[in-house]
């Protein structure tokens, strides 16, 4: 294809947008509504997942060692554990630190009766934090198999609740995103269908004077892609503005919520929402126009 034909085709696509203003407006509005709904839902899901992740990072398993195990051996075990991919952080609590912490948290006024004794002298331990609590069982099994490990304390309940919650949110969000996507494609192909039916005569003329399917289809597809881009950019701008202000409002007005619920920043959200939404807009525009024009090409 000649460069001039390529530019002509792109030019026709852009001109088509202005030739059919009402149709273009309807298409942009449909894509924008779908992407807006998707974006809002995406913000909620991402924040929820972040909330769960925050809780997960606070869940630790505690590893105790055989009585009298030398410090060097304990550190070796620590190194082995730290190599595991499930581990995000590992903290060593010496017997002295464990006793100090117990004294201040649990014993209060009765501490003097122990004198200089440390009843927890065999309770040096590692606190191990994980990337993903759903893999707790695997990690625990590995640690229990290490020589010198006396006991591994884990929080089965918290881990299983968090894992189930995470899975549940994952499935629900996938289902809702799929439904939104199907609704979008249905709405778009209907809108494009109406727009193209009006221009069926034009397609027929092009075909009868010898235009190839590519030449007929390309301007429609370019038009669809541009409308898809605009249709995605508008809700993105709206979400950017709304999300930032809502998060700011909640943080300022409802201190209790913001103290335990840490919202993601707009930049964190947009680092994935923007490429996903733009791809969605362009994809819907492309697929909608490509498939609908195809029906009218058999002239």
């Amino acid at each position: 294809m000649r460069i001039s034909t390529l530019f002509f085709t792109i030019g026709q696509g852009i001109k088509n947008i202005f030739r059919n203003k009402l149709f273009s407006l309807a298409t942009v509005a449909t894509i924008a509504s779908c992407v807006f709904l998707f974006g809002l839902f995406y913000c909620v899901v991402l924040n929820f997942q972040n909330f769960v992740r925050e809780i997960q990072t606070g869940v630790a398993i505690t590893v105790f060692f055989d009585e009298g195990l030398p410090d060097a051996e304990i550190m070796k075990i620590g190194d082995e554990i730290a190599k595991r991919t499930e581990v995000s952080k590992i903290v060593f609590i010496s017997a002295e630190e464990a006793w100090e912490s117990f004294k201040s948290e649990e014993l209060g006024g009765y501490v003097d009766s122990f004198g200089d004794d440390n009843p927890l002298q065999d309770d040096a331990n590692f606190e191990i934090y994980m990337n993903d609590v759903s893999r707790q069982e695997t990690l625990v099994k590995f640690i229990e198999g290490l020589e010198g490990v006396r006991q591994v304390r884990k929080s089965v309940m918290v881990a299983s609740v968090l894992t189930s919650m995470n899975n549940f949110v994952g499935y629900i969000s996938m289902a809702i995103i799929l439904i939104l996507l199907l609704v979008s494609i249905f709405l778009i192909s209907n809108t494009v269908s109406i727009g193209i039916t009006v221009r069926r005569e034009e397609i027929g003329i092009m075909k009868l004077i010898g235009a190839t399917d590519f030449v007929v289809r390309a301007p429609f597809v370019i038009e669809g892609i541009i409308l898809g881009l605009i249709g995605a950019a508008i809700p993105l701008a709206a979400i950017y503005y709304v999300y930032r202000n809502v998060v700011e409002y909640i943080s300022e007005r409802f201190n209790i919520i913001s103290s335990f619920l840490k919202f993601l920043t707009i930049n964190q959200i947009f680092s994935t929402l923007m490429p996903v939404s733009l791809t969605l807009g362009v994809g819907i525009g492309f697929l909608g126009s490509f498939t609908t024009v195809r029906k009218h090409l058999r002239v």
Partner: protein, 228 residues
């Protein structure tokens, strides 16, 4: 140039449109096809344009077996045939220049050549001054001349005209027919489907008369036959 052998066409509704038609058209001929509504004239044009395929028979145009033509080869085949319709079929949102240039753009003619060819062909049909007008700003005769300019700009060896004067007054009808005659004089084969008795009788060209899907008569320098 154009060969139809034992061509029949029956629509999916079951109604037969053409029944065993055989027709040979030599290069450079001017041919009228006349007949009542439902005689099969438009079906014939659609078969030649490969809008339809025959139920049986063979169609050869410019040495191409039209029936066996694959979908991807149809555009190239159609570029060898200029076509004019009764309802002009212009792109309404584009001006005269763009309508004519479009036929060249789709075959990737360089922009420089398009800028040279379009004014030249618009001059030929007498519309050089109106190149910026939209179709709705033109009379029926002028619109048909734009359609004619679009049909001939790629110098096709064949020109099909389906009722080209059907929507025109006598003066404009004659202007269009004179243009078709002039195009034919440069070697283009011209097939005109028409109901216009006066023009057919006056021009003394080859006339094919059709009735109920068959060829009723084929006369050299013929005239309009009353079928009743």
């Amino acid at each position: 140039m154009i060969i139809l052998e034992d061509v029949s066409k029956t629509y999916s509704t079951g109604s037969p449109a053409l029944n065993n038609i055989t027709l040979h058209v030599k290069p450079g001929e001017f041919l009228f096809i006349v007949g009542d509504s439902g005689s099969g004239k438009s079906t014939l044009i659609k078969l030649l344009l490969r809008e339809l395929t025959p139920t049986s028979g063979r169609i050869i145009v410019n040495n191409t077996d039209v029936v066996k033509l694959k979908h991807g080869k149809i555009p190239k085949y159609r570029r060898g045939i200029g076509v004019v319709f009764q309802d002009f079929r212009l792109l309404k949102d584009r001006n005269v220049y763009e309508n004519v240039a479009f036929a060249q753009r789709i075959i990737s003619v360089p922009g420089r050549e398009i800028r040279r060819n379009v004014p030249s062909v618009l001059s030929l049909v007498g519309l050089a001054e109106k190149y910026r007008s939209r179709p709705r700003e033109l009379s029926g005769g002028e619109q048909q001349r734009v359609a004619l300019a679009r049909a001939i700009i790629n110098n096709p060896p064949i020109l099909l005209a389906d009722e080209p004067t059907g929507n025109l007054d006598p003066k404009n009808s004659w202007e269009i027919m004179n243009l078709l005659d002039e195009i034919n004089s440069h070697g283009t084969t011209v097939l005109v489907v028409t109901h216009n008795r006066e023009i057919v009788n006056a021009m003394r060209k080859r006339v094919i008369t059709m009735k109920k899907g068959i060829i009723l008569s084929d006369q050299e320098q013929g005239g309009y036959i009353d079928e009743d």
